[in-house]
């Protein structure tokens, strides 16, 4: 079995004075789709942001592709290049003038000091290929602010796809989509995962999707309550532990 893409060891994260995530440990194997589930306020997004170095962690270690994430959130640029992160609700100031092609191109760049025209042709080709793969090349000249919710999600996937990656971190990526667009998003995501061999770590509230499509599940409510395959983890007992007994009774009655 190949080395895990991500190793999280005893991570604790504080938000102000309280521990939002306490002593969480898990690994994400290469090519596997791992879901983090838990109620609102359970620390799922906090955990993901600490893993990426967006939020500081109080203690614990994180290794991405075998490289340690420093306490201040630094990671080697070569490793950063192999991770893509899609945040919960991709909100940005819609007055910012940026086209789809420019935005997807940002996913290709290495983001160190470089001349603005570096990579010119290779960059253009990679952007065209990525947009074609998500069936959105026709949108390349559109301003990002003019896209519909479903189109925007496809563009975000193109941003991930524009360079070969090993790990995709998604924080409720399909949030805000209607049922049909959400199912289309997951269809495309799983197809790309198969084609690209991505390992995925995603926060999700959709337990049915997790049961259907994910290889592993982490149940979290500030601490790690259980982990394993969906069949093993999403039992009424574990769900009751994570979400409370009311939730399990409600799901059974549906």
């Amino acid at each position: 079995m190949s080395d895990p893409v991500l190793v999280v060891n005893g991570v604790t994260v504080y938000r102000e004075a309280y521990a939002a995530v306490q002593n969480v440990s898990f690994t994400v194997p290469a090519g596997m789709d791992t879901a983090i589930v838990g109620p609102n306020g359970a620390g799922k997004s906090t955990l993901i942001q600490a893993i990426l170095g967006i939020l500081p962690r109080r203690s614990g270690d994180v290794f991405v592709l075998g490289q340690p994430l420093s306490p201040s959130g630094k990671l080697s640029p070569a490793v950063r290049q192999q991770i893509a992160y899609l945040p919960q609700n991709f909100l940005f100031d819609r007055r910012i003038p940026i086209t789809v092609r420019e935005f997807v191109g940002l996913g290709w760049d290495r983001l160190g000091l470089q001349l603005p025209w570096t990579g010119g042709k290779a960059r253009r080709q990679a952007v065209q290929q990525a947009l074609t793969q998500v069936d959105a090349w026709h949108l390349h000249q559109q301003p990002v602010s003019a896209l519909s919710g479903g189109e925007l999600k496809r563009i975000l996937l193109a941003y991930c796809l524009v360079r070969p990656r090993r790990l995709l971190v998604l924080d409720e990526a399909p949030a805000g989509l209607d049922v049909r667009s959400e199912s289309e998003f997951y269809r495309l995501l799983h197809q790309l995962k198969k084609d690209q061999g991505w390992a995925i770590l995603q926060v999700s509230h959709d337990l049915d999707m997790v049961r259907r499509s994910c290889d592993r599940v982490l149940c979290i409510n500030r601490t790690l309550l259980c982990q394993g395959t969906p069949d093993h983890s999403l039992t009424p007992e574990n769900l009751s532990l994570a979400y409370g007994p009311e939730f399990v009774r409600y799901r059974h009655s549906c």
Partner: protein, 279 residues
């Protein structure tokens, strides 16, 4: 005949060395203001240049009391101001405009108190408030030129990081962009641009150089790169137009340039093919 005489007068005027320096200085300032302004308005730091300009009175006050040349004191003061604001923003998580207001008003108040100890500096305050492009020296031009080169290199080499950071901070961090370093570097550079330009433009009008060309450029551009280039170009263009108008009609130079910027902004609003904001 009258028009020909007027034309000859303006041509003669434009050939004078101080006019050369003023024209070149205003173009450099306009270009720098437009370039840095393109990111400044998107990051909602428009008030920053205004606040720094007004706070510069404190720097001047300290300089005057210590017997130093105020134009040399402004630059280190501008850097300290930038670092102070960046520190307060990171520490307090308060609204940028509210925090800038605190720093700006208190610096202004302390600056005026300090200057009140020296009655002989009243003329200096007027000069500081309104600036004087026509009084630009070769040394000022060299400084402005070096500052412009620094801005172009900084924006050029970090362009992709700056765009992603402006668009989505968390995504930029996840890609390894050092947000606090980039943010501090940008704000220090912006402060130096403002600090250097205060002598020519004055504290009251300096923010127009940063804000108006960038807003006009936003109305005329579709892509980010286009937007930055148009913003810098309009900054320089409005400086040339403003200086010529000021020479023809014998008007104050700084306000003439700002009026030219306003005219360009209004034209951008009225332009039939302007790129509508897709909201």
């Amino acid at each position: 005949m009258a028009i020909q005489a007027e034309f000859t007068r303006v041509i003669d005027l434009l050939q004078l060395p101080f006019m050369h320096r003023a024209l070149m200085g205003s173009v450099l300032t306009g270009f720098m203001g437009g370039l840095m302004g393109s990111f400044t308005i998107l990051r909602q730091l428009s008030f920053f240049s205004d606040a720094l300009g007004e706070s510069a009175l404190l720097g001047i006050g300290v300089g005057v009391l210590l017997g130093l040349d105020p134009s040399w004191v402004i630059l280190p003061f501008a850097v300290l101001f930038a670092l102070g604001v960046a520190y307060f923003l990171e520490r307090t998580h308060l609204w940028t405009d509210a925090l800038l207001n605190i720093v700006c008003s208190s610096s202004l108040a302390i600056g005026i108190i300090l200057l009140s100890f020296r009655d002989d500096y009243k003329g200096g305050i007027t000069h500081l408030l309104f600036g004087d492009i026509l009084a630009m020296r070769t040394t000022d031009l060299v400084f402005s030129g070096m500052m412009l080169v620094a801005c172009v290199i900084f924006i050029g080499l970090t362009l992709r990081s700056q765009i992603l950071l402006t668009l989505h901070e968390s995504m930029a961090i996840a890609r390894g962009v050092s947000v606090s370093t980039q943010r501090t570097a940008f704000i220090v550079l912006l402060s130096l641009v403002v600090g250097i330009s205060i002598k020519a433009i004055g504290v009251l009008l300096i923010s127009a150089f940063v804000v108006i060309p960038a807003c006009a450029a936003r109305l005329l551009s579709r892509t980010f790169v286009q937007y930055i280039l148009i913003s810098a170009g309009l900054g320089a263009l409005s400086a040339v137009i403003g200086m010529i108008v000021s020479a023809v009609f014998d008007l104050p130079s700084g306000p003439s340039i700002v009026t030219a910027q306003l005219a360009i902004f209004l034209l951008a609003m009225l332009a039939p093919n302007r790129r509508k904001l897709a909201l």
